[in-house]
C-alpha cells in the first residue's frame, strides 16, 4: 500500500510517457515549462481566469450574476466546466466571427453574406481546412457559405487611385494561410529572408491573377478568366525572363492544360444573365485542393499559430506572417506538435481552443512578482496582457453598464432589415453602436490589429463621446439604477459589474467614501462607473 505514493512521486520526476496518450494541453505545458529554467507565475485567481475566458471565448466580460455564480463554485472542475459551457454558448460563434473577421479581413469592411459564412461556420464548428476551401474556392450554389468569396473579392476592389491589387491578394493568401508574407519577394528574392523566393510569390500570384469580381450577383462572387499561359516575370536583380504556373511554396507547379480555341469553357459566358463563363481549368480549384491539406506543413503550423495567438495574444511565430528560418518559432517542437494534432483532429478549431484553455500556460496569472519580473513575452512564464478589440470593448461596456439589457436582443445576423428597423425605432441599434466603436478603436483598413496601439481618438471617444456617456445615467435595470438604490457597498457592485472581481479593501474604502460623501450621489455614481470603464484594467484582457 505504501508503494503507490512513492511510485506516483517517482513518475513526476521521470520522463516515462504514460500509457494513456497525453492530452494536448498537458503537452503544451511540458513544452513551455521545459523551455525555460526560470520560474513560472502561479495559477490565476478565479476572477482573473473568469474574465479572461469570457473575453476570449465569447468576446465580452461576464455580468454580475455570471461572476458571482462562478466565484461561489468550489468544485475542483469548475474551470473546465466553465470552458465547456462557454464553448457551447451562442455567443461563441459571434466572438469567433468577430475575431476571424478582423484577422482575415483586417478592417476592410463588412458584408452580410461574409458574416453569415463566418457565424454559421463557427456555429457548426466547421473545420479550418473546410473554411479555407470555401474562402479560396467559394461554392456559389450554397447560400450559407458563398459569402466566403468576400475574402477574395474585397481584396480585388479598387480603393483610392490604386490599381486592382492582385499582388496584395496573393500576398494575403500567403500571410493568412501559410504564415508567409511574400510581399518583399514580389520583384526579387527577399533581401533579408533567404527562405522567401520571388518564384514563391509569383507561383501564388499565378493562382489569382486571372480572377475578377463577378458583377452579375448580389452576393460576393469570384470569376476566372481562362488561363492559357504561364505567368512571366522579371527580377529587378537578376538578368533573364522567368515564368511559372500556379504553384504553392514547396509544392510542384500545376500544369496549365491546353484547349483548342473556343473550348476553354465548361460553361460558356451567358450574355443575357451576364454570368461569366466557367473555364474548364480554374487554378482556384487546385488551390482549394492543395493549400488546406494535412501534408502542407506550413498550412498546419499557421493554423495552430493563429489559434495560439487568439488565446495567448502572441504567436509562437511572431509576427504571425513571417514564418521563416531567421524568425523561428519560440517553441518549434510545440508548434509542430500542435500543427500535427490539429490536422489529426480534422482541423477542429474548438477542440484546439479548448486544449489551450485547459493548459496551465493559459491559466497562469498576469500578476508580476519578483520571480517573473524579467519574463519575456515569448516565454509565457506569466500571462501577457492583451488589448480588448473594438468589439470586445463594445460588448463589455454594454454588459458592464447594463445597457445590453435595454437593447432588444439581436435575433439574427448583421444585415437583417426587420430587427434593424425595430432597433432604430427604439433609438439604439447594435449596428449603430458598432460603427461608433469601430470609428473610435479599430485600426484603419489593411492594418493588422496584432499590436497594442491605443489612440487619442479612442480616449476622446470615452471621455467626451455621447455614446458611452449616454449609458451612464440611471435607467430602470441598469447599473447606475442598481447603485442608486443602494446606500452602502457601492464598491462591491461597481467592481463586480465592471471589473468582474471583488474590490480590495483600499478600493472599497476609496469608492464607498467617494460616493457616500458626495453631495450629488447620482452624479458620483456616474463618475465612478465612467472611471472604471475608462480604466486600463478594463481596456486590457489580463
Amino acid at each position: 500500500m505504501k508503494i503507490y505514493p512513492l511510485l506516483a512521486v517517482l513518475c513526476c520526476f521521470c520522463s516515462i510517457q504514460p500509457l494513456v496518450a497525453q492530452q494536448l494541453h498537458e503537452l503544451i505545458d511540458q513544452h513551455i515549462e521545459q523551455a525555460s529554467p526560470e520560474p513560472f507565475a502561479a495559477e490565476s485567481t478565479d476572477s482573473e481566469f473568469l474574465r479572461r475566458i469570457y473575453l476570449d471565448l465569447i468576446g465580452q466580460i461576464p455580468n454580475t450574476s455570471e461572476t458571482l455564480e462562478f466565484l461561489s463554485d468550489t468544485a475542483t472542475d469548475r474551470r473546465s466546466r466553465l470552458i465547456d459551457k462557454l464553448l457551447e454558448d451562442s455567443r461563441y460563434s459571434r466572438r469567433m466571427s468577430e475575431f476571424f473577421n478582423v484577422m482575415l479581413m483586417e478592417r476592410r469592411g463588412i458584408d452580410p453574406d461574409w458574416q453569415l459564412f463566418l457565424t454559421s461556420s463557427f456555429n457548426k464548428n466547421m473545420a479550418w481546412d473546410k473554411m479555407v476551401q470555401h474562402m479560396v474556392s467559394p461554392d456559389t450554389s450554397n447560400e450559407t457559405t458563398r459569402g466566403s468569396a468576400y475574402f477574395l473579392t474585397k481584396r480585388l476592389e479598387k480603393y483610392g487611385q490604386n490599381p486592382t491589387d492582385f499582388p496584395g491578394l496573393a500576398r494575403d493568401i500567403g500571410r493568412m494561410f501559410l504564415g508567409m508574407d511574400l510581399a518583399c519577394a514580389q520583384c526579387h528574392d527577399h533581401l533579408f529572408i533567404d527562405d522567401y523566393k520571388q518564384a514563391d510569390f509569383q507561383g501564388l500570384f499565378a493562382f489569382i491573377n486571372n480572377s475578377f469580381i463577378r458583377s452579375d450577383t448580389d452576393y460576393p462572387a469570384i470569376g476566372m478568366k481562362p488561363v492559357k499561359v504561364r505567368l512571366e516575370f522579371n527580377s529587378v536583380f537578376e538578368e533573364g525572363n522567368f515564368s511559372t504556373g500556379p504553384k504553392l511554396p514547396g509544392l510542384s507547379e500545376i500544369p496549365i492544360p491546353e484547349f483548342i480555341g473556343g473550348e476553354e469553357f465548361a460553361v460558356e459566358p451567358n450574355k443575357e444573365t451576364k454570368a461569366p463563363g466557367i473555364p474548364k481549368f480554374n487554378p482556384l480549384d487546385f488551390l482549394a485542393k492543395q493549400l488546406p491539406t494535412a501534408t502542407n506543413e506550413s498550412f498546419n503550423l499557421n493554423a495552430a499559430n493563429r489559434i495560439w495567438y487568439l488565446m495567448m495574444g502572441r504567436g509562437i511565430v511572431h509576427p504571425m506572417d513571417l514564418h521563416h528560418s531567421d524568425n523561428p518559432p519560440s517553441h518549434p517542437q510545440l508548434l509542430s506538435l500542435m500543427g500535427q494534432q490539429l490536422a489529426d483532429n480534422n482541423y477542429d478549431i474548438k477542440w484546439c481552443i479548448r486544449q489551450i484553455a485547459l493548459s496551465r500556460t493559459y491559466q497562469r496569472t498576469g500578476t508580476i512578482t519578483p520571480s517573473v519580473a524579467n519574463a519575456k513575452r515569448h516565454e509565457y512564464r506569466v500571462f501577457s496582457e492583451k488589448p480588448l478589440s473594438a468589439e470586445q470593448l463594445m460588448w463589455s461596456m454594454l454588459t458592464a453598464t447594463g445597457q445590453l439589457n435595454l437593447i432588444p436582443p439581436q435575433t439574427t445576423t448583421v444585415g437583417s432589415d426587420s430587427t434593424e428597423t425595430q432597433q432604430e425605432q427604439l433609438g439604439e441599434s447594435i449596428d449603430g453602436i458598432r460603427t461608433d466603436f469601430l470609428d473610435a478603436y479599430a485600426n484603419p483598413p489593411r492594418e493588422p490589429e496584432t499590436e497594442f496601439a491605443p489612440s487619442v481618438r479612442g480616449a476622446l471617444f470615452v471621455l467626451n463621446g455621447p455614446r458611452v456617456l449616454s449609458w451612464l445615467p440611471a435607467k430602470p435595470g441598469n447599473l447606475a439604477d442598481l447603485l442608486n438604490k443602494q446606500d452602502r457597498e457601492y464598491a462591491d457592485t461597481l467592481y463586480l459589474a465592471i471589473l468582474s472581481r471583488k474590490p480590495t479593501l483600499e478600493e472599497t474604502n476609496y469608492f464607498n467614501q467617494y460616493i457616500g460623501s458626495h453631495s450629488d450621489k447620482t452624479k458620483a455614481i456616474e463618475q465612478a462607473i465612467w472611471a472604471l470603464l475608462a480604466s486600463n484594467e478594463f481596456a486590457i484582457n489580463h
Partner: protein, 432 residues
Amino acid sequence: MSSHQAPNPLCKPVEHTLSRRHLLGAGAAASAIGLGGLGGLVQPLVAEQMQQKEKQVLFIWIDGGMSQLESWDPKPNTHFGGPFRSIATSIPGVHISELMPKTSRIMHKLALDRGVCTFDNSHSAGVPRINRGDPKDRGVIYPYFGSAVANLMGPSDSGLPPYVWVKPGSGGFKYQDAGFLGPKYGALAIGEGEPPPNILLPESVDTQQNDDRNSLRKFANQQYSKTRPATFSEAQNFVFDTAHALMKRRSLFNEPAPKDIARYGDTPLGRDMLIGRKMLEAGVRFVKVNSYGWDTHGDNFNAHASLMPRFDQAFTAVVEDLDERGMLEHVLVIAMSEFGRTPRINGHIGRDHWPEAWSIAMTGTGIKQGAIIGETNTEGTWVTSEAHDIGHFFHTWFNALGIDSEHTEYINEGQPLPIANDDCSPIQELLA
C-alpha cells in the same frame, strides 16, 4: 509601383526617360549597391541629437502646383513669361512676381531655391512622392515629412499631438501619411477650422466633474499598475494625457480676432495659416497648412491673379509673426507644391505640370536667410545650375532640424531604412 533609382546630379530631362526605361537595369543595380552600403551605418539615438527639443516645422502645402513663373521665378517679357511683371525685393537684384508684393518686402528673411527638378508630373504619383522625399523603392511605404518628423522628434513637451494638419474639407485622425511608421504617426487633421471629434467636453460634464472622474480613473489605474507590467498602461495613460492636452487647448479653435483675420486674409488659407500659427505657439511639433485649387490647366493667369495674393498675404503674415515672436529661431518654414507649371502656355491659356524646373521657398531654424540659389534658363524651361531633387531638400530640412540625415535610419521590422534618399545630400548653400 514604379520608381526611379538613378541618382540625379544634373537632372537632364532626357535622363528621366532613360531612368524610367532602365528601371530594371542600371537603376536597380545602383539601388542594390546603396542597400548593401547600409550595413555599415549605426543607428544613433535620435533623441540625443535633439539638443534643442523645441524645434518645430510649419509646412505649407500648395496642392495642385503653384506656377513658379507667377511667383518665385518670373520671366517677364520672354516667350513663356505671361502677362505679369516682376518686382524688386528687399534683396538687391532679386526679383519675384508682382503678384507677391508683401513677400517682396521680406525676401531677405527667406531662402529660395529656383533650381528644383523632380520627377512625376502627375498629381496621383507626384504628391505622395514629393511628400515622402522620393525615397528609393524598398518595398515599404515611406512616411510623409510630417509623420517622419513626428517619429524622429516625437511630440514636444506641450503634450499635444506631434503632427497637426490644418486643411479645408474633412478633419479627423488621418493615418495615411504615416506609411510604415504606423497609424500613430498619422496626422490629427483640423478640417474647416473645426476641432477634432469629441474634443469638447459634453454639456453634461463640467471641468470640475471631469477632474473628479479622471482622479477616480487614475486611482483605478494606480491600483492596476501595482502588479502589472508598465508598457500597455503607459501607452494608455499617454493617449489620455494627450486627449486632455487637446481639450485644454480648445481656445485654439475659437474664432480668431478680426484684426488677425485682416492681416492673414479672410480666406481659407488665411484662416488656416492663423490656426497653424496658434498650433505652433501651443507647441505642436509639425504643422501642415494646406491650400487646394492650384491646378491651373485653364485660365492660369486669372487664377494666379486671384490665388497668389491670398498666398502672399497669409505667408507674409505668418513669417512676420513668427519672426516678431522670435520663433523663426526654432521653427522651420517651408512653402511648396508637388511640382511647378509648364512654361508653355496651352490652348486654354493654362499651364500644365512641370516638375523639371521649379522653386521652393523656406526660412526659419537652420536655414540661411537671404540665400537665393538655383537658376533656370531665360525661358524658365530647364534648370541651368546644379539641380536639386526633393531628396536633397529632405536632407537639408532634416539637418536644419538637427537630424543627421545621412547617418540616421528607421528600423522597420528589422529592416534599416535611410530617412532620406541615399543618393542625395544636404544643400549646404541653404543651411545656416
